[in-house]
């Protein structure tokens, strides 16, 4: 376990190694939240609520969705693809650890770094500028915490899948980019799922993406109540388990291919 914790620490150091990235990150998050706030206040106009969400709830939804994104978002798919292309995976095979677990820990290190150093300062700034309501129920905070951890797991699993796909596709830059757009759109980051047309909502119910952003944000804004919260968390947990299977299958195949073809 020590090695995995150490990996989180190393990732922290790597993030700190590039200061410009750090400062521009805060700026980008604040701009995004601001832009969406103005867009939504224009859409709301005089209307008190759309789809049962008030303007304050909506603003909070956006701020929280972006804060959660800082935590679950990582580039490990791109990193895996690069390591495969450069043949560095061979070196990973001579280390006494599980490559995928190590990658997941790197993602976690990145996530913790971002939420502490991007999101928290970012949220303080945003809190003073825009009308945002933080819930006072400790239970909601707790549910939210569980929910963003699950959303991290789901997103990272999808990233692992995309990354491992490099073994089979010669060049998967396109796939990585497509995945990013799909996640931003279908996870409810840009538009809450309840705003999609009914048929689209029912399709999305069968996809893992809403577990990434929509569920944690709805829990935090208290758009989900009572059994809705539990239902959301169960949905996320289920996807964590389901996605585990294709990763193992794909990784076992990829490893065989690596071992047969050489570094």
């Amino acid at each position: 376990m020590g090695k995995y914790l150490e990996m989180i620490r190393i990732r922290f150091l790597m993030m700190l190694a590039y200061r410009t990235n750090y400062y521009s990150g805060i700026l980008i998050y604040s701009i995004n939240i601001g832009a969406y706030y103005f867009l939504w206040s224009a859409i709301y106009g005089d209307k008190p609520s759309i789809q049962h969400l008030s303007i304050v709830q909506m603003t909070t939804y956006i701020a929280v969705a972006w804060m959660a994104r800082a935590f679950y978002f990582n580039n490990i798919d791109r990193e895996i693809a690069l390591e495969i292309k450069e043949g560095k995976v061979a070196i990973e095979m001579i280390r006494p650890y599980n490559y995928l677990s190590m990658k997941m820990m790197q993602g976690l290190g990145e996530g913790i770094f971002r939420i502490l150093f991007f999101s928290v300062p970012g949220m303080v700034i945003v809190y003073f500028i825009f009308p945002i309501q933080f819930t006072s129920h400790p239970a909601t905070w707790l549910y939210f915490l569980v929910s963003i951890i699950l959303s991290f797991v789901i997103n990272t699993q999808i990233n692992l899948l995309t990354g491992i796909a490099t073994f089979f596709l010669f060049n998967n830059d396109g796939l990585i980019r497509a995945k990013r757009v799909v996640i931003d759109l279908f996870s409810g980051l840009i538009l809450p799922i309840s705003f999609f047309p009914g048929w689209a909502q029912s399709i999305m119910g069968y996809l893992p993406f809403q577990g990434i952003s929509y569920i944690p944000s709805m829990i935090f804004t208290e758009g989900f109540q009572g059994s809705g919260v539990i239902h959301g968390l169960l949905n996320q947990a289920l996807w964590c388990v389901v996605l585990f299977i294709p990763i193992q299958v794909l990784w076992a195949t990829a490893k065989r291919q690596l071992i047969v073809q050489g570094g």
């Binding site: 090695k3 070196i91 095979m93 006494p96 650890y97």
Partner: protein, 338 residues
């Protein structure tokens, strides 16, 4: 367990497809492909004892790296048996890799963006090295490799020689009984090479570390290894003491003549017909090299006869270098007495 590396009839085949030429060929490739099987390592057997330092040499593409990859568990063999440190490298991977250290000269295993000491710290955790051991052992390694001033620098800011020393240190954090070095001195200057060689000798003496080294630089092998294994087209063509290789192959001497005028092969052969001499022309018709047995009488006789008949500007007697020996072996493709 007698041997630290015990390999029997190890074989590795790669299948690759060859593309047909032209547009028509490319279309045909969409449906059927021509597969060719290439044997990279061809039924080799070798045993290495604990504490040996073995040089593994061969031309590019001879199968050196493939062998190393099979011995470290990165590649699975097509057939044959491999036992390294008493384990099969593919089964029980995590346990096996704890017992080896690997340095690939062309690939870094340190983390690019962070300070060297952070990489060390992570590896220490990865290999579960106890603090006490780490402190004494690594202090020693760091001192011998003189990398103390580099520890707080990120890897990307190190020169190749500095990085290579750090790589070596990183491979030794868990003090493995077996060390694989794949071209560790590639592109390094003479001083760094010397330092690395000295260091390798030291850990070999101190911990009895077994070292398997591949290199293109034969001076590495001369400085370090008593035993060499030579590989050509996937087959072992020589396995034995470096000294013996020299004795079997480097037994002769070469006499280089620089004449003041052009001379012909038949003239020279006529002069030295009583002895076994192989004449070779140098860069022009006035420079000739005579390869003779390492025997004082023959050398004197050949020089005496040639000098008596022809006027010379320069004369040099040289011993055949290891490099030439190896070139000769590759040209003939097999080893005499060997």
């Amino acid at each position: 367990m007698d041997y630290i590396i015990d390999v029997k009839d190890l074989r590795k085949e790669f299948t690759s497809h060859s593309s047909r030429s032209g547009l028509k060929g490319a279309f045909r490739d969409l449906f059927t492909r021509n597969y060719t099987i290439k044997t990279a390592v061809d039924d080799i057997s070798l045993q290495i004892r604990k504490g040996e330092m073995v040089g593994y040499i061969g031309e590019n593409g001879a199968g050196k790296s493939t062998t190393i990859k099979m011995l470290t568990g990165i590649l699975t063999p097509t057939s044959g048996e491999v036992r390294v440190n008493g384990m099969n490298p593919h089964k029980d991977r995590e346990k096996f890799v704890r017992s080896i250290g690997v340095v690939f000269g062309q690939r870094s295993q340190l983390w690019w963006d962070i300070a060297v000491q952070e990489s060390f710290r992570l590896l220490k955790k990865v290999y579960n090295v106890p603090d006490e051991f780490y402190n004494t052992h690594m202090a020693d390694v760091i001192k011998t490799l003189a990398i103390e001033p580099l520890l707080d620098k990120p890897v990307r800011k190190l020169s190749l020689g500095q990085r290579m020393r750090c790589e070596l240190a990183a491979a030794l954090i868990h003090n493995p009984p077996l060390l694989f070095l794949d071209e560790p001195t590639i592109g390094l200057d003479v001083l760094v090479k010397l330092k690395i060689r000295e260091f390798l000798k030291e850990i070999n003496a101190k911990y009895g570390t077994t070292i398997l080294l591949t290199t293109h630089d034969l001076s590495d092998i001369e400085a370090l290894c008593e035993r060499v294994i030579m590989l050509d087209e996937g087959k072992i063509i020589y396995d034995g003491a470096l000294q013996q290789l020299r004795e079997n192959w480097g037994e002769g001497k070469q006499i280089q003549f620089l004449f003041t005028e052009d001379v012909f092969m038949n003239e020279l052969q006529e002069l030295t017909k009583e002895h076994l001499v192989v004449w070779e022309q140098g860069t022009n018709a006035s420079t000739w090299t005579a390869s003779v047995e390492n025997d004082e009488e023959i050398i004197s006789a050949v020089i005496g006869k040639v000098v008596a008949a022809k006027r010379i500007a320069d004369l040099k007697i040289v011993e055949i270098t290891t490099e030439e020996i190896i070139r000769n072996i590759y040209e003939e493709g097999a080893v005499r007495n060997g």
